[in-house]
């Protein structure tokens, strides 16, 4: 998937986030520990996340719609450690659940919508940091 396509979708997701939602800011503890004072490293990691994550969210949504749980779980599995890296911790319980047992989630569509919203809000905060 091209960067332009990913960014275009990223923008549309971000634009869909309501202004009045209360959302915890990304927790940078882990990334700061990893960076050991290297600000460029932090920016680089955030940049990679902002560039790649929208594609993962689109893929999750598509695989859920297709009922392809194997691929859905794979994408969620890959996303999990990245969320810890950039401190979007509030999305982790849902993504973990999808990664482990997406086929058993009754409200999968709602769960994925919640994940997308939470991550998009986190990405909005991350964009301010770079």
């Amino acid at each position: 998937m091209s960067e332009i396509f990913a960014n275009a979708n990223y923008r549309s997701y971000i634009d869909a986030v309501p202004d009045n939602l209360n959302y915890p800011k990304p927790d940078m503890t882990y990334l700061n520990e990893m960076a050991e004072g290297d600000e460029n490293f932090i920016k680089e990691i955030i940049g990679i996340f902002l560039n790649n994550c929208p594609e993962s969210l689109i893929l999750m949504q598509n695989y859920a719609m297709l009922g392809d749980h194997e691929k859905l779980k794979f994408v969620a599995h890959k996303l999990l450690p990245e969320l810890t890296f950039v401190g979007i911790l509030s999305a982790i319980p849902d993504v973990e659940k999808i990664s482990n047992e997406s086929e058993l989630i009754n409200d999968l569509s709602a769960t994925i919508s919640r994940v997308i919203l939470t991550i998009n809000m986190g990405m909005g905060e991350l964009r301010k940091m770079i």
Binding site: M34, F49, F85
Partner: protein, 120 residues
């Protein structure tokens, strides 16, 4: 000391490289299983770190090739988000020397690498 990192996630690659290079190691990266096998065939490494879920050839198959086809004794650390017991046991049975779950603690990664390299 030269370390091969077999990993398809760019964020993870950056993080591992950052930590290992800051400790003075030379780091090479393979972004899929085929590239990993090629690099191991062509070069000598002091340690190999591998993810499990990778394109073309998975981490468990890479460990199997290293131990049972290439007959190499190079230390292998598995670095995976898969933390279930069956997978961990399978990795050790095939010949992995250590298993770290993602997201990893940078200091833990460092000490585990050092421990295996000292043993060599």
């Amino acid at each position: 000391m030269k370390i091969l990192v077999c990993e398809d996630d760019f964020m993870m690659i950056k993080a591992i490289e950052h930590k290992l290079k800051s400790e003075g190691y030379e780091v090479e990266v393979a972004v899929d299983g085929n590239q990993a096998v090629d690099k191991i065939n062509q070069s000598n490494y002091d340690l190999i770190m591998t993810d499990l879920l990778m394109p073309f050839v998975g981490g468990l198959e890479i460990i199997n090739k290293i131990r049972n086809e290439m007959h190499l004794k190079v230390p292998i650390i598995v670095l995976s988000a898969l933390g279930n017991e069956d997978t961990i046991i399978e990795a050790f049975k095939l010949g992995a020397d250590d298993y770290i779950t993602k997201p990893f603690s940078p200091n833990e990664l460092s000490i585990r690498v050092k421990r295996l390299l000292i043993r060599r």
